[in-house]
């Protein structure tokens, strides 16, 4: 097991905080503990990959409030909720809001470490995906508006002649634009171009 990353633990119960942090440390994970939601939210930068263990039931700001605030800040680190029995409605709300998992105290049927690991892997994967998308976006942003227009029509499966007619340009000019798009986006084929665009979510643009 060589999962690495930082576990952020937010729990008002000192015993629980210590126990979870110790468990993480015992497997080589870095753990950072917070007694209140506001202490945690005071952080400006999170390590990656990261996993956030949020006690659902806390005085003042509870786990759901923290989750909402993270979403507002576009922080996409995976959140694992720790719940007790009897607060199923809150758990449902948490899952709908994008929590990766939840675990019920006293963890009798659950493997907290397993859940943490899964969450970290997921974050790592997301981190990787994020960097590819970022590259595609960077490449896409080097295109001239004309080239971007050509690329959009190419991805629709149109021929150079059809694109030239659509854009009111010569077939030769379209051919030059098309070559530049393929270069700038670093793809060999139209299929690759479409794949990258889907991956980066450029299809709607």
């Amino acid at each position: 097991m060589s999962t690495s990353g930082t576990v952020y633990i937010v729990d008002d119960d000192p015993g629980m905080r210590r126990a979870m942090a110790r468990l993480c440390a015992s497997t080589g994970l870095k753990a950072d503990t917070f007694a209140t939601a506001s202490d945690f939210l005071a952080l400006t930068q999170l390590d990656r990959p990261a996993c956030i263990l949020l006690d659902l039931c806390m005085p003042r700001q509870n786990g759901l409030d923290v989750q909402a605030e993270l979403a507002r800040r576009s922080i996409q680190a995976p959140v694992v909720f720790i719940t007790g029995h009897g607060d199923i409605p809150s758990t449902v709300r948490a899952m709908k809001a994008g929590a990766v998992d939840f675990i019920t105290k006293p963890f009798d049927h659950h493997d907290l470490l397993g859940i943490i690991r899964k969450a970290l892997e997921k974050d790592l994967a997301r981190q990787t995906a994020d960097s590819e998308t970022q590259l595609i976006h960077q490449q896409f942003h080097t295109l001239t508006p004309r080239e971007a227009e050509v690329m959009k029509l190419v991805m629709r499966g149109m021929l150079n002649k059809q694109i030239a007619a659509e854009l009111g340009a010569s077939e030769q000019t379209i051919k030059v634009h098309r070559g530049r798009v393929m270069d700038k986006m670093r793809v060999e084929s139209v299929a690759e171009l479409v794949q990258a665009a889907v991956k980066a979510g450029l299809l709607g643009k």
Partner: protein, 697 residues
């Protein structure tokens, strides 16, 4: 005026001559007293019947108020003319002869005149023949001789008096004697004593008048008196008056003034005064008068005091008699009351003797009053052994704090039944501090006690039901509370496994994991214990508690519930609060009830608005106070009013028992539970308990 012996001899001789000349059997000769005018008889001669009022001593013919002399006897005196009658019975003046009087058959009377002044009478009667004018002439001649004799006699008298007076005046008399000119008041003569009284020499006195010597305030009175003396209204003036001493000081004198008839004159020319110095007497009199006045006022005052005292005494006596009667009546009345009283009354003297024991003693204890009286320690003996301590403490308390005392204990009656007694007693102490023992009343409160115990039992059962209900309501929270340590245990155990598996094993980390496991397990155990306590029947034992600590523990128990309900709790515990005496389970139940009540009131609010503020403080009266303030819906006037009534609830799911039980618990602790609405929002519940004092410890 006593006739002189000389005149007597002459009058005797003249009368003998008159009788012989006229052959009269009876003869009478008299002289007129110049002061009174009475005709004083000197001699009456002739046979006299025994019963006659005119025999010895010689008769006196009084001059009447009209200046006239009575009867035929006085006729000549009145007319100043001699006359005779040979038939006196038929004379117009005659009024008949009184019985036993000398029978006068013939009568001849001649007045004796000296210079027109009537000075005497010569009368004869009862000759053997009739009187004639010749007889009349003869007797008139005799009367002239008699008048001359009287004149001479008067002259001699005056001379003698003058002589006597001179002697008197020159004598060293003890009283002052003075002669004054009757008209001018000029002093004519004075004796040495008078000079001493007024302080002037004899020579000086002679140049003064009595008017000059008399104190001005007394002059009018003196002149008035002298005037009366002068006109003959009085014969002698006696008065007390003041002279002025030569040195100007008033001198009180008593004087008697009498006229000295001057020879040959109708009016007295001189006044003789006898003067007595009474200054000393006057002073004594004055002092006496003053002393008497003092004495009188003192006596009067004493009399008044005596009278008041007497009245008071009489009043007291009446009151006392009335009181005695009243006492007897009261005695009868109170004995009747005592005998018929439903309670067992008794009065025990300091030596333990039973002075009184009411008949109810038998109804309650089974023993008769005489059995009780025969064995004074019987009451102590029938007290149930467990309660003897109460009795002994009570006996001590009576001795140290005299005053009414009430204790409750059980006795075993003669039939063996246990009876609850409410014993109240008071030492009987006279105002002078003497103790008359103890007056006590024993009331049979067995029925009340049984009812109380039933009620108490029911209340305890209800409190238990309420706690169990609360525990049920708290189940989720308690599970959560339990999950915390359990979760910690699981984590720590897994970590411990990892540390053990490391090569080499991290023993330090392993050890602290195990320690945390132990702590968490203990914590879990506490949660379980608290839960169990809620299900337990309470024993009524109370102990010394700290409210802050009790609250802390209770809030730990409620921690998860508060979290689950998203309640923001603020606590403000006053440090240095005095302790309280109480049952921790019961008081915790009250606090839980109050907090749960507050939470329920805030259910409808958004989570951010759910504010719970818990405060402790010491009230102005020194009591320990808990305030639980919520931001909920508040209370209606009816809710505040009916707070703590059983089955009164504002909660749709509530039983209405929580606050009723809470209130009962607090009141049983001697405290108070109440609620008010906050000015802004929500309500505040107050719980107040008496502070422990040094005495309670």
């Amino acid at each position: 005026m006593e006739p002189t012996s000389g005149v007597s001899e002459i009058s005797e001789a003249l009368l003998s001559e008159a009788q012989a000349l006229t052959g009269s059997a009876h003869g009478f000769i008299s002289s007129i007293d110049p002061l009174t005018g009475d005709n004083i008889g000197h001699t009456l001669r002739g046979p006299v019947p025994d019963s006659c009022g005119v025999n010895q001593p010689p008769p006196v013919l009084r001059r009447g108020a009209d200046g006239l002399y009575p009867s035929l006897w006085g006729h000549a005196l009145n007319t100043r003319a001699a006359f005779y009658s040979n038939d006196p019975a038929s004379h117009p003046v005659s009024k008949g002869v009184p019985e036993g009087h000398i029978i006068v058959k013939r009568f001849l009377s001649v007045p004796v005149l000296l210079n027109q002044e009537l000075v005497g009478q010569i009368a004869v009667a009862n000759p053997p023949r009739d009187y004639t004018d010749a007889d009349l002439r003869n007797l008139a001649s005799l009367a002239d001789i008699y008048a001359l004799a009287i004149q001479r006699m008067r002259f001699e008298d005056a001379l003698r008096r003058e002589r006597d007076f001179a002697a008197l005046i020159t004598s060293n008399a003890a009283v002052g004697i003075v002669l004054t000119d009757a008209r001018t008041g000029q002093f004519v003569r004075a004796n040495q004593k008078f000079c001493e009284i007024v302080g002037y020499t004899l020579q000086e006195v002679s140049s003064l008048s009595f008017q000059q010597l008399t104190h001005p305030d007394d002059l009018d009175r003196s002149l008035e008196g002298l005037q009366k003396l002068r006109i003959g209204e009085i014969r002698e003036l006696a008065m007390e008056k003041r002279y002025l001493h030569k040195d100007g000081a008033p001198v009180w004198v008593r004087l008697a003034v009498a006229p000295l008839p001057a020879r040959g004159e109708g009016e007295a020319a001189l006044h003789i005064a006898v003067v007595e110095d009474i200054t000393l007497r006057k002073r004594i009199e004055l002092e006496l008068t003053r002393a008497r006045a003092n004495l009188e006022s003192t006596v009067e005052q004493r009399t008044a005091e005596l009278r008041a005292a007497n009245t008071e005494l009489r009043h007291q006596m009446e009151l006392r008699r009335f009181r005695e009667e009243e006492l007897e009546e009261a005695e009868r009345r109170y004995r009747t009351v005592a005998d018929f009283t439903y309670d067992w009354e008794y009065w025990r003297t300091p030596d333990g003797t039973l002075l009184y024991c009411s008949p109810s003693c038998e109804r309650i204890s089974g023993y008769t009053p005489s059995e009780m009286a025969a064995k004074p320690q019987l009451l102590e003996e029938i007290i149930e052994p467990e309660d003897r301590r109460i009795w002994n403490e009570h006996l001590c308390a009576i001795r140290t704090a005299p005053g009414p005392q009430v204790v409750e204990f059980r006795i075993r009656s003669k039939s063996g039944a246990t009876r609850w007694i409410e014993h109240s007693c008071q030492p009987v102490i006279l105002p002078d501090g003497q103790s008359l023992g103890v007056r006590a009343s024993n009331r049979d409160i067995t029925d009340r006690k049984n009812a109380e115990m039933t009620t108490q039992h029911l209340r305890q059962e209800m409190a238990l039901v309420s706690r169990i209900t609360t525990a049920g309501q708290l189940a989720a929270a308690l599970a959560h509370e339990l999950n915390q340590p359990l979760g910690a245990i699981v984590c720590n155990a897994q970590a411990a496994g990892h540390f053990l598996n490391q090569a080499p094993p991290d023993l330090a980390e392993l050890y602290s994991s195990l320690q945390d496991i132990e702590d968490a397990a203990k914590r879990a155990g506490q949660v379980i214990q608290r839960l169990r306590a809620m299900y337990r029947r309470t024993d009524p034992q109370r102990g010394s508690l700290e409210l802050n600590r009790l609250l802390q523990e209770t809030l730990e128990l409620l921690h998860s519930e508060l979290l689950l309900r998203s309640i923001a709790v603020r606590t403000d515990f006053s440090s240095g609060l005095p302790g309280i005496s109480g049952n921790s389970i019961e008081l915790q139940q009250v606090v839980i009830n109050l907090v749960m009540n507050a939470l329920d009131a805030m259910t409808a609010l958004p989570p951010t608005g759910r504010q719970l503020h818990i405060q402790t403080a010491q009230s102005a009266t020194g009591a320990v106070q808990l305030r639980i303030r919520d931001s909920g819906v508040g209370l209606s006037a009816e809710q505040i009013e009916r707070l703590g009534e059983p089955f009164f609830t504002s909660k749709p799911k509530g039983m209405g028992m929580g606050l009723a039980i809470s209130r009962h618990i607090i009141e049983a602790h001697g405290g108070r539970l109440w609620a008010t609405n906050n000015p802004d929002q929500g309500a505040t519940f107050y719980m107040e308990l008496p502070a422990l004092t040094a005495k309670d410890l």
